[in-house]
Symmetry: C2
């Protein structure tokens, strides 16, 4: 594995993608960043008035240019400003070297200039329901619709900023259905693939 390899993981809710990312980072001895960590860092370091004004002046940078030409830029909404703060945080951690990042369109944001192994993790619905109840401790009789809603939000966020389809194999170097593997086996597969990058 090269020193600068960044493994990005997008995942269906309940597929085990988060814990796989966590254990993979541990196995490889590299930092792990998930959505909560990226969000907190972005809020802390960049999400203030001065920062946002500065970002708005960079309106002609490549990402915003892409968003604008694709018709997606909505004039600096709060959502876009959060995305910008998170994007900058992602780039900052990526520049520090090898790591595992879960979620936040990392595969798209780091698509140029970084050595990325992009992974999508999914599973059968019944196994995701089981994991959400047993591992995440979610209660209620609407688990299936909670899963659907979460995945819809993830898909919408990904498509909005990347103009790509979330979960389409063409966007990832590898996709994995975890219904047929244990968490440890999935980590092993990804670790072996990472060694080839």
């Amino acid at each position: 594995m090269k020193n600068n390899l960044i493994i990005t993981i997008e995942r269906e809710f309940g597929s085990g993608g988060h814990v796989i990312g966590e254990k993979l980072a541990e196995a490889l001895g590299v930092p792990f960043y998930d959505e909560a960590i990226i969000e907190r860092a972005a809020m802390k370091s960049g999400f203030d008035k001065e920062f946002i004004e500065e970002q708005e002046q960079k309106i002609n940078n490549s990402l915003l240019f892409n968003i604008a030409t694709n018709g997606y830029y909505t004039g600096g909404s709060l959502h876009d400003q959060i995305f910008i703060a998170e994007r900058d945080t992602l780039i900052e951690v990526a520049q520090q070297g090898a790591c595992v990042i879960v979620g936040r369109c990392a595969d798209y944001i780091l698509r140029e200039g970084y050595n990325c192994l992009n992974v999508f993790v999914h599973a059968e619905k019944e196994d995701r329901i089981k994991r959400v109840v047993e591992e995440y401790g979610v209660k209620g009789n609407n688990i299936s619709s909670i899963i659907d809603k979460t995945d819809k939000q993830r898909a919408r966020h990904y498509q909005y900023y990347s103009d790509q389809v979330w979960g389409a194999s063409e966007n990832y170097h590898l996709t994995l259905n975890t219904s047929r593997f244990s968490i440890e086996q999935a980590v092993g597969i990804l670790k072996d693939v990472a060694e080839l990058f």
Copy 2:
């Protein structure tokens, strides 16, 4: 690896999926079946008048019932008859034990009652053009459109009979972008995954 494991591979044209399947079968010591083999066997064993009449009497079997209820069955066209003959050949080889099958909707046809590892192999367009020219010896200045046309045919055939999207990660246990791997590496990854099944 269990004795009865059947590895199905769908692949983009020029992605190396065929040769990966061939070498994987060799590495695992199991038979290899590609589209040409299945087609020849279907033509030889089943594609005669008596066979087709017999198949038509099985109109209420599950596959045709599915096709009919999905509105796809077109009343026994030549295309459907070929599909039926190929499907029966596929089932026949699958019943003989572990093997690798490339193409022909094998993942869908064998979805119930068989232990399948379903794989989709794809690659960046530029790498596929290179392989089609250098490895397959295709000449001309329209290689890109030949690739697109071949993939469109494969996608249409798959979608018509399975009512699923060709290349959507949800239909496969694993998808792999071969642009970042050598053929040998891809075979190694799939062999390791097969050992877990």
